[in-house]
Symmetry: C2
Subunit: 330 residues, 2 copies
């Protein structure tokens, strides 16, 4: 089995390929080759039991997507996107990469499907986002709630979802779109994203550093660990498409919890000394942005299809300790 | 005030310009010029109290949309589309006209908006469709129900809605998308569209001809007259955008009624002799297609914004008698 990962230099893409390297299989079939693609050359995992090819290009330029699929990968993970803030600042770049890029990829696969009389029909797993939803929200966003994004990024993801469903309905490929929760705890350095604090207040104190909490403890949000995100991708790659039916885009399960509940989980896992490293510095700009974000979802459809996430924030912290810190608290 | 109508050769576009010619004003302002555009040259109405320019081109080719908006129309009615059946048969043409065409238009307006530092910001009224929804449905489709189209046409309209909302949110223009009910009674000849019978069984008997009813009388559907459709367009062109807020795409009001109720209305308006011209010839293909169509909507949001449709099917028949038959029943 040949797997193509587009957007393989990102955090989730890298962890996905590491998981494939560890498993050696996908859906019970041996993986023979993984192609890792991104706009910068991705790093191959060490010790993979299959061939790894790394590629760098901008797949949003005409002709590039064709090169990526020319050897007909069986499964395509499409994780490539520019993020919300950049798509909002650079309107043209956002549409070029997040919308045209996805469409070029889908068109390149369609051309191979049509040329093979339908014999080539790969599974495409597309990472969408809860940014397809726009406030005001019900207390928990239902499985049939409409997509009225309030960012260009969310608009581009919602368009990607619609294209994925239509190309799938027409039989050009077999697509599944998954709307990821906010990934927590994100490894790496603190970043300037408005959502950064959800991870910062856990990751930094665990590593012995101070972290800034810019919102109040009653802010509620929707989380899953990087390990769950990889699990969603693997499950989406192997699920029976017939069971999914025509509605191909699924809100992934997650954990709805408040910042206060995050902090109490950190106290249980790591103690008062670690929690004391969180500094409260209210930031009105971030408070305002976060007020427009979803707090909770009904993910029963994805759950009934076998997608699984953490049930407590303690588990989410333990995944981070295990994957990033070798179990050690500073 | 200068008005551009794209898709002006179609039935609704033609009736819209006739209404503008009769009124001479839009939203209380005198109309000085109407540009009528379509892929075939539209026919100017006679006796219009303003200048009428007619143009033919394919606006889905790069550069054409710029020509349409170069003299900065104050209001743009974007009615251009290829219909559902053709978009389903010719995948590339459907995406080119219904998706790329809309995007080129929005981009052309955005370029003028940016070049004028935001001074040029026209109202764009975009005709979407209830085809953005896909079965299974609730008994009445709510104002926050999700868009999971089951045709390429519906997908392209849903994408047009998303683009319209995002360009509006960014301030490039001021868009309103309106999802039209099935227009009934459609004037003209019977056509092969699966939905054709809803109009055929009224129009043909009133004109002294037989009509075929291919489904059972308990089939329920969502209707508005051509006069209401024009009313929606006029209201959408003049409504206060602030009141609409970020959710720019609205399901228009309509009348939910069964085929049996249509026939009883015809009996009340035109008598048994006319009703006897309806021949029942069940067609399994049409029965199957129609089973997947919406039956009823909650259009309360559009109603609260002042959009109005007929309350009885008798009214819908009387509009047809008035507009197309000079009140005479054959």
């Amino acid at each position: 089995m040949h797997i193509l990962v587009i957007g393989a230099a990102g955090m989730v893409g890298r962890k996905l390929v590491e998981r494939l390297a560890k498993d050696g299989t996908l859906g019970g079939k041996a993986v023979s080759k993984v192609t890792m693609h991104d706009v910068i050359e991705p790093t191959a995992p060490s010790g993979a039991p299959f061939a790894v090819k790394t590629l760098a290009s901008d797949f949003s330029y005409a002709g590039e997507a064709e090169k990526l699929v020319v050897d007909k990968p069986d499964v395509i993970f499409h994780l490539a996107a520019i993020v919300s803030g950049e798509a909002e600042q650079d309107f043209d770049k956002g549409y070029r990469i997040n919308m045209d890029g996805s469409r070029f990829l889908f068109e390149a696969v369609r051309a191979l499907n049509v040329a093979s009389n339908g014999a080539y029909k790969p599974r495409i797993v597309f990472t969408s986002s809860i940014a397809v939803f726009g406030a005001p929200f019900p207390e928990a966003i239902g499985t049939e709630f409409f997509t009225t994004p309030l960012t260009s990024y969310g608009t581009q993801k919602a368009i990607g979802e619609l294209l994925l469903a239509d190309y799938t309905r027409k039989g050009f490929f077999d697509g599944i779109g998954i709307r990821l929760p906010t990934i927590c705890v994100r490894p790496g350095k603190p970043n300037a994203a408005a959502s950064g604090f959800f991870s910062n207040i856990i990751r930094e104190p665990l590593a012995g550093h101070e972290a800034v909490l810019p919102v109040s403890e009653d802010v509620r949000h929707w989380h899953a660990s990087p390990r769950s995100a990889v699990g969603f991708l693997i499950h989406a790659a192997t699920i029976d498409g017939e069971k999914v039916g025509h509605r191909r885009n699924l809100t992934m399960p997650g954990l709805s919890c408040t910042v206060g509940e995050q902090i109490e989980a950190l106290r249980r896992v790591a103690g008062d000394k670690v929690v004391a490293r969180i500094k409260r510095e209210p930031d009105q700009a971030i408070i305002k942005i976060v007020a427009g974000w979803p707090r909770n979802f009904d993910a029963s459809r994805a759950e009934s299809l076998g997608f699984k996430a953490e049930k407590t924030f303690d588990e989410i912290i333990k995944v981070h300790l295990d994957e990033e810190l070798g179990g050690k608290i500073a």
